[in-house]
Symmetry: C2
Subunit: 286 residues, 2 copies
């Protein structure tokens, strides 16, 4: 159920992003934007559409928000890959934007993808409460959310001591957690409903996702993940795996999946696809 | 009248930006954001507040939008100054963000300032039509507005031929014009009024402003402008001055100021401060 739904979401969200980038100006920056929004798991878009469905909102009335969160995510990847940040040459099995074009194009393409995310969130198709969604996207993305996490990550690279478990958890809450929470609560926000169960779900899901990422960085197959692995260990960076051990990290991820599933109880069986998604985040190979 | 009003706007908008950045996280990125929003002419904020006043909207009900446009402008400066872009070491008489901190901090601070601009535009104090304002800000900032202009500027640096007058005009319409238009129409948008007279005003004003910038780059006093001058000529870049000559550029700027003033006729004497602002853009030394 989840796998088919995710595949359908991937197709639909790619269409929405392609449409949003179909304007005339054919400058390298726009090419780079189109390139940067190709591929990816689309888990954040899936969360938007599933949380919308839970609240009786059909895909077309939430698709712009699903595309928005993926544009926002794509911007963060383009900037994170820059030489002055994580300095990655490969992303989703392809050269990163600054490798394929140059750094100036990567900075501008990332900048314009962030703008596009906000523009998509303003789409009238999202209905009367879309201003609340834009507000939530801004809170999740900025210096108290995603950028905070990225800044803590950069700071950790030059810190004298490796991070503690609490510090890594805070870093992750910003770097990936904030956008997961935005995505999982988007439907509730558009419906004007209580967002708390989905916040609890997203908090556990985001953390489980990050732990799985740390495990993949140690045990993953680069042919499948499409990015360089083993980087954290090579850089001597603390991760959930370095702090908990591989078995401990796996156990913690399993507990978090159980927490995520439990948080969905108010929605009953209607939330089964979201439960499957939680199990997927820790079993994925990509 | 204009000079005092601008001075009051400078104080008020700085307070609003300081408040918006007064949250707890005291990481280098947040320091850099606070640093990047210090100083500046605040002409864009002034335009927001004056266009609001023209439509019966008092300063407190438009201040968040004034702060938003300055946060957006500050983000664009931080990224434009990066080594991979214009590579500037000095801005408003102070070291640029990547010089004072580092490139990673400058990328992230710029990113978070863009986010902050959208967050400020969502402020409930801006009233029921703020979603239209957010939409306008996104359109003005992205790959069909400000980023397009910046991308054309980067492309011009490596182009075989210097740009023509039409090409420079298009570049400028994106790079500075789009945000001027946003600022000058913000009040009309918040009031649900016709934006066309203010669009015409902003188009002429933005172009006059850019021509004045090009003249300052040739004849300005670095002690007053607080940035390195003579860069365009040194880089062999076409400017309004290189294409029209210094007298031709000055004449064109004067014509544009007359156009800008004429565009305000629907508002009568209520728009006199905006008329003064138009004259200021071409007489300024900063």
């Amino acid at each position: 159920m989840f796998a088919e739904r995710l595949k359908r979401v991937q197709v639909k969200v790619q269409e929405a992003l392609d449409d949003a980038l179909a304007f005339h100006d054919d400058i390298p920056v726009v090419h780079a934007m189109r390139y940067a929004v190709q591929g990816g798991k689309r888990l954040r878009a899936f969360l938007v559409l599933e949380s919308a469905r839970l609240h009786g909102i059909h895909d077309p009335e939430a698709m712009a928000a699903a595309a928005a969160v993926e544009a926002l995510h794509a911007y963060s990847l383009v900037h994170d890959d820059l030489p002055c940040m994580d300095d990655d040459a490969l992303r989703r099995g392809q050269p990163t934007v600054h490798v394929k074009w140059d750094q100036a194009t990567a900075v501008l393409a990332g900048d314009a993808l962030q703008t596009l995310a906000f523009e998509l969130c303003c789409d009238p198709s999202l209905g009367a409460r879309r201003i609340d969604l834009v507000t939530a996207l801004a809170k999740a993305s900025g210096a108290e959310g995603m950028v905070l996490g990225q800044a803590l990550d950069i700071a950790a690279e030059t810190a004298a001591e490796p991070l503690t478990l609490d510090e890594i958890t805070r870093l992750q809450a910003g770097k990936t957690g904030a956008l997961f929470t935005f995505a999982a609560t988007a439907g509730a926000i558009l419906a004007g409903a209580d967002t708390r169960p989905l916040e609890d779900y997203a908090r556990a899901l985001g953390l489980a996702f990050q732990i799985a990422d740390d495990i993949l960085d140690v045990e993953g197959d680069p042919a499948k993940t499409g990015k360089k692995l083993g980087k954290d260990a090579a850089a001597g960076k603390a991760t959930f795996v370095s702090l908990l051990g591989i078995d401990g990290a796996r156990a913690r991820a399993r507990d978090l999946v159980a927490d995520a599933e439990a948080a969905l109880s108010p929605y009953g069986v209607k939330a089964d696809t979201l439960r499957e998604a939680a199990r997927y985040t820790v079993s994925r190979e990509v």
